[in-house]
């Protein structure tokens, strides 16, 4: 069979070499422009990278859908929470007046805020959907401080690329890039449907970012760390969930 001629082998080889170098160049460019997520390794890395890059290229500043008040779900569904322990109970019984939100890392003015401090920042509300990986979702009104405002208060440095946020729950932390950290709908939320944020929904302070799945909206936030690299955090994959195989970028 002369179907597989030398010429054909040669041109196929050329195409493959061209494709490979094109891919290599695309990878370098993607890294340069922050289109590669921290959990880009492994056999599922290409899929995660394509999703994250597509969202950052085409929907970086889009606003999550807001709903009319009539569509607020009643009651909102809380996921089951593990017991939080004696120390949390003490804080709750004290009305969370001793709760601290520490902000450190690449900031000009590291700070430690009380819940009252966070409430003194300009107050914003959104009626958005919280959507869980397991399939369920609900619409609620969230009240809180804009994440970007907190970054301004502490003076996040211009070379910052990510913000790591940690929970009161042990070994529970996650991170977002600056596109989400500076997004106007990314809140540190302290209110829900006109009331204090219930403990089962993450009170006193919960991360709220409506453009990503529920599991990025971590409850009981105690610390924000501004950084230019996620290498030093856990396994360097950007979140605990990524270490379990759940994508770091959960805007899907």
């Amino acid at each position: 069979m002369n179907k597989f001629s030398r010429r054909k082998l040669f041109t196929t080889g050329l195409y493959m070499a061209g494709g490979a170098s094109g891919l290599a160049a695309a990878t370098v460019l993607a890294r340069r422009y922050g289109l590669v997520p921290p959990d880009c390794g492994g056999i599922y890395g290409p899929g995660e990278t394509l999703s994250y890059a597509a969202h950052r290229l085409f929907a970086r500043d889009s606003l999550a859908r807001e709903f009319p008040r009539s569509m607020i779900s009643n009651p909102p569904f809380p996921n089951q929470a593990d017991p939080l322990g004696k120390e949390f109970e003490r804080l709750r019984d004290g009305g969370f007046s001793d709760w601290r939100l520490a902000v450190d890392g690449m900031v000009a003015r590291p700070a430690s805020f009380s819940v009252a401090d966070v409430k003194s920042f300009p107050r914003h509300s959104q009626i958005t959907q919280l959507q869980c990986e397991e399939g369920w979702s609900y619409v609620a009104e969230w009240t809180g401080a804009r994440f970007s405002h907190i970054l301004d208060v502490v003076g996040a440095l211009p070379q910052a690329r990510y913000v790591v946020y940690s929970s009161f729950e042990r070994d529970t932390w996650d991170s977002i890039d600056m596109a989400d950290a500076r997004h106007p709908q990314t809140f540190i939320a302290y209110g829900m449907n006109g009331e204090e944020l219930p403990v089962k929904h993450g009170g006193p302070l919960r991360m709220r970012l409506p453009r990503q799945m529920g599991y990025k909206n971590i409850k009981y936030i105690t610390r924000l760390t501004v950084t230019d690299s996620l290498k030093g955090f856990g396994k360097g994959m950007g979140s605990v969930s990524a270490e379990y195989g759940y994508a770091w970028y959960a805007g899907i």
């Binding site: 599922y44 995660e48 089951q80 994508a247």
Partner: protein
């Protein structure tokens, strides 16, 4: 994994979702290539759009009846698709796959923020999920019937035809197949 509704998921299943989304990219990218190439080369027009005379009720019924009676395939069936195949393939390529991709994207909070109309037209996130599942069932049904028909039609013969794209066009080849 404990959940709030008295049901315990058997395992951390992050890998399955990662596989799903990577497979989705693969399906979208190869699908786009396939559709662009098919339009460019006239594959759909030539091989998949049924002739209008085949769409009459009588003609459609005769093909359906042939299948229902489990009659052996006609001799020219290996060379071109019958009207049922054409309609099924067109629905899979231009209705089911696009709908699967659309409803899948509509479940993404990021996409919903960029293209809210794509979600509200479907009736919201949870309606998109329901449609996504029904499309999935239809695609699995299609795949099952498709593979069953390939087996009934002669697995080796059909696979050879698919891979070499020869058996369907070469006349000697057809005769060869018939004599063996």
């Amino acid at each position: 994994m404990p959940t709030g509704y008295k049901y315990v998921l058997p395992d951390q299943n992050g890998w399955s979702r990662a596989l799903h989304f990577e497979a989705a990219w693969l399906a979208v990218l190869t699908g786009l290539l396939y559709v662009a190439w098919g339009l460019f080369r006239g594959h759909f027009r030539r091989n998949l759009v049924p002739a209008s005379r085949d769409l009459s009720a009588a003609s459609l019924w005769s093909v359906i009846a042939q299948h229902l009676r489990l009659l052996p395939a006609r001799e020219d069936d290996g060379r071109s698709y019958n009207v049922l195949q054409r309609l099924t393939y067109l629905s899979v390529i231009f209705i089911l796959f696009p709908l699967a991709i659309w409803t899948g994207l509509a479940m993404s909070p990021g996409i919903a923020s960029a293209m809210p109309a794509a979600v509200s037209v479907l009736g919201g996130l949870q309606s998109a999920r329901t449609i996504h599942f029904f499309v999935f069932i239809l695609l699995v049904l299609f795949a099952a019937v498709h593979i069953a028909m390939v087996c009934i039609g002669g697995f080796g013969k059909r696979m050879r035809a698919m891979i070499t794209s020869r058996a369907a066009t070469g006349k000697e080849k057809n005769e060869q197949v018939l004599t063996t």
